[in-house]
Symmetry: C2
Subunit: 315 residues, 2 copies
């Protein structure tokens, strides 16, 4: 059951609200504007946008002076200045039904929190607008540059990770709380994919052996680059510096046996799914081929099959 929307309400008919609401209306969406002084101008003369991406005029615009006259919608865009946010507690409730989502296009921090107090945290989104717009007059907007919107679902850490972190620290375990678990998972894969992977693919070798040969160090770097690229395609901004960082911290570890190497040499199952197959699957689904990881997965599978066949023969 995936959410979608038909009716849209725009709260605040300043430059941002008129521009984005106007674009959506131009594209055929059902948009109602909550306006103050502009209601008459919008209703009678419509909305005029002088835009760097092409001027347009909407002769008919649905504009209302109160939220009650708009009634429940599926998506609310909050686009007035944050300085008006004290009025959201009156304006939002008439616009809500059980599935209504609220997207704030406002600047800065703290707006999602205000909206979440009114509508509940699980239906708040934020949009960052990278755009140059000015409202010239009632129902008349000038758009001079940009226009991109970056939209994200708002979810606030609720302190569970921090509480576990504190108690781990109390027990002497170095711990930190991270705001984006998925990004932390991919950052860790930058190490696990090449080192755990090659330690198995090459038949059970320690990390110092992998780093001693120029050829395997080059494969490590290629795999790391692929993992970083995959994370980026998924919207997780991993830094290039992770490559040198991870190689530099591995050298002093000496003849380290990765956990997968230990599993391999002790005849246990290796975590092929989570460490190699799942990242590969997600990258491919996002349109990124990963030739180095593809080759590595094939080598690991072949090596596991050979080991298990040998183990059978030895019984």
């Amino acid at each position: 059951m995936s959410w979608t929307f038909k009716r849209v309400a725009v709260v605040g008919s300043g430059a941002i609200g008129l521009y984005y609401g106007g674009r959506l209306a131009l594209g055929g969406e059902d948009v109602s504007f909550l306006a103050r002084s502009d209601v008459d101008a919008l209703t009678t003369a419509g909305l005029r946008v002088d835009s760097a991406h092409g001027n347009f005029h909407l002769p008919k615009v649905k504009a209302f002076p109160t939220a009650a006259e708009i009634g429940p919608v599926d998506l609310v865009l909050v686009s007035w200045k944050a300085t008006s946010n004290a009025h959201l507690s009156e304006v939002l409730p008439p616009l809500l039904h059980a599935g209504t989502q609220v997207l704030t296009l406002q600047n800065g921090l703290g707006n999602c929190e205000v909206i979440a107090e009114i509508v509940g945290a699980d239906r708040v989104l934020g949009g960052l607008c990278f755009v140059c717009i000015n409202r010239l007059a009632s129902g008349h907007v000038a758009h001079t540059a940009g226009g991109r919107v970056a939209i994200g679902e708002w979810r606030q850490a609720d302190g569970r990770a921090e509480e576990i972190m504190r108690r781990f620290k109390t027990a002497g375990i170095p711990a930190e709380a991270v705001p984006n678990l998925e990004q932390a998972q991919w950052e860790k894969l930058v190490w696990n994919v090449p080192f755990n992977g090659l330690s198995v693919a090459l038949g059970g070798v320690t990390t110092d052996v992998l780093l001693a040969a120029a050829e395997t160090e080059a494969r490590i770097r290629d795999l790391m680059r692929e993992v970083i690229s995959a994370a980026r395609v998924l919207g997780l901004p991993l830094a290039d510096g992770l490559i040198d960082f991870n190689i530099d911290r591995t050298r002093p570890m000496g003849a380290y046996r990765t956990s997968s190497m230990i599993d391999f040499t002790e005849g246990r199952e290796v975590e092929v799914g989570p460490i190699w197959e799942e990242p590969l699957r997600r990258a491919k689904a996002a349109g990124l081929p990963m030739p180095h990881l593809t080759r590595l997965v094939e080598e690991i599978r072949a090596r596991m099959a050979r080991r298990d066949k040998a183990a059978c023969g030895n019984r």
Copy 2:
């Protein structure tokens, strides 16, 4: 109402489970281990950890062969190999009460998803372990290096941002869905804090004027550096490259009037809270002083007070 925990269960008594569960027990936490072949050894001889951070021995360890014998706990650590995850659907339910949280310490991707299927998405966390540990024998673990755990609450995007993005794009609006809204908000502040801020603080000036003087460009860079540092303290890895990127993209904008400058010159309220005060408050709460932003906020407040006083006098 903030969540906390008393009873802890460790699912999987391999190296990771014994080490972290052992550290927690050593620190006084109430820890029960779900074990297989190790139950007798753990119960009779306890747990021995040879650790780079100091050896320790727990003579008494609570170890059980079934989850039912452990019963409901407040926190479950899942520490066995992902290759055993098919058994989680039997093992987790006896460990749950309404408030139980489940933290997976496993490698790779896809483990949170498996656990969420069983216990619900809103009580899953992931922990990334940066540690070198081997299990030498039953109840005996060697810890050679590291130990840090990065803990995050698991929350999966549910497609609302993607749906809005698609419909915005259909309407001709360049849009993207971002996985971490908070990070995107801070990235935008790298521009808004200095450019909107100085455009008001200096009495209503356009961006080209701010970039024309070496002194104001230096202030812009100082403010950007502070915003990036604040985001990093909050766990959001903003790149240094954002400084040049934002300055380079602003030069071609010419005599651009920031939205705050327009508000200022037209006598309207300026969004002092979300753009400057709230980032400053969050950075300070995290222990980071921001002298450049502190000065800027004072200048903006003084400039607003002077304007409003003048406006009163003109009435």
